[in-house]
Symmetry: C2
Subunit: 206 residues, 2 copies
């Protein structure tokens, strides 16, 4: 007779209990691959929409107003405010563009796994790694653009940096909206990473 | 008859199922838990050191210089530059402080798993989730502080924001060093997340 002295606390108690009884409990259901990758594709489509919206709103933020020329008193000129006047906003546009491109490529990869699920485990690992890196890039871009946007909104009296949003209202609205959408994209990337990780974790349990 | 005194906790179904078959395949090697969590503890200690260094360097950056008062021409005064003059730097210090505290707690948790590896799978999942969130927070803090630091270093002629680093040299050195160390902390968080994910992935293969 098989003697099991120290059964595992989590699983084998059922097996030991059912040793004498003829009807074995049904085996656990196979991991639900289709559901995971379907949610994954949906989130990546949302990520693409968020990244493209964010980039378009930021790029179309240009506004020209008649303002005093900085550094030259009593002198006014029509001066434009553009996103590419600030390196932080350029980095923001670059990072979100990369995130948009990345979302297309990984959505296609995810769809290919849906059609042919043989390599799903390898894809899960690579998705988890890449989503992580992309999250770092997008989060830092949101932080950088948010910090510069905040100075534009409130100014900084300690170092004499003037607020710009009292003059360039449309520009500031665009920048703020763009940052809000990019924050949503960062949240989507967190969800995507969590989805990959929890899917990996669930497969261990199965 | 086969008598199994201490069944492997992870593969009980195979053992029970193969009771009648004479040639048992060699059981797969158990996952190398100790190695993973030892590296994990080491990385978390590094993360703690990086976070504390970053916060200390940023907080001790105060410098007072005799400068023209912003907005008042022909008027000079000894004015201090402190990290808490900028909301981005305050967020930076808060985020890195949280990262330092988090690294202590998770290092203790990791050590407890080293001593008692029963719950390693659950810990892996929670570590992967929490490292992810912490990476988002630290990356955005580095982005925010970096963007403000860059304006301080180079100024922005388009909106008349003056550069500050030509005057406050010590302050800028501290801020720059602090951001560099925080960037290292963010890289450590990426490595920690990758470690958790690849460990989860390896357990599927086992």
């Amino acid at each position: 007779m098989a003697s099991i002295d120290k059964p595992d606390p989590e699983v084998p108690t059922k097996l030991v209990a059912s040793e004498g009884a003829p009807p074995l409990p049904p085996p656990p259901a196979p991991p639900c691959k289709v559901d995971y990758f379907a949610v994954d594709v949906a989130l990546r489509v949302w990520l693409f929409a968020a990244a493209v919206t964010s980039v378009v709103v930021m790029v179309t933020s240009e506004e020209t107003e008649v303002v005093p020329v900085p550094g030259v008193p009593n002198h006014i000129l029509p001066l434009p405010a553009k996103f590419n006047h600030s390196p932080a906003f350029i980095y923001f546009v670059a990072a979100l563009s990369v995130a948009g491109l990345y979302s297309i490529i990984t959505a296609l990869a995810s769809i290919s796994v849906l059609l042919k699920p043989d390599f799903s485990k390898t894809f899960l690992l690579h998705f988890a790694f890449l989503d992580l890196l992309m999250l770092g890039v997008v989060a830092s871009a949101v932080g950088a653009a948010g910090a510069v946007g905040y100075i534009g909104l409130k100014g900084n009296s300690h170092v004499g940096w003037s607020k710009e949003c009292s003059v360039y209202k449309k520009f500031c609205t665009h920048v703020g909206s763009s940052i809000a959408v990019a924050l949503f994209a960062a949240v989507l990337l967190v969800l995507l990473s969590m989805l990959s990780i929890s899917s990996l974790h669930r497969r261990i349990r199965d």
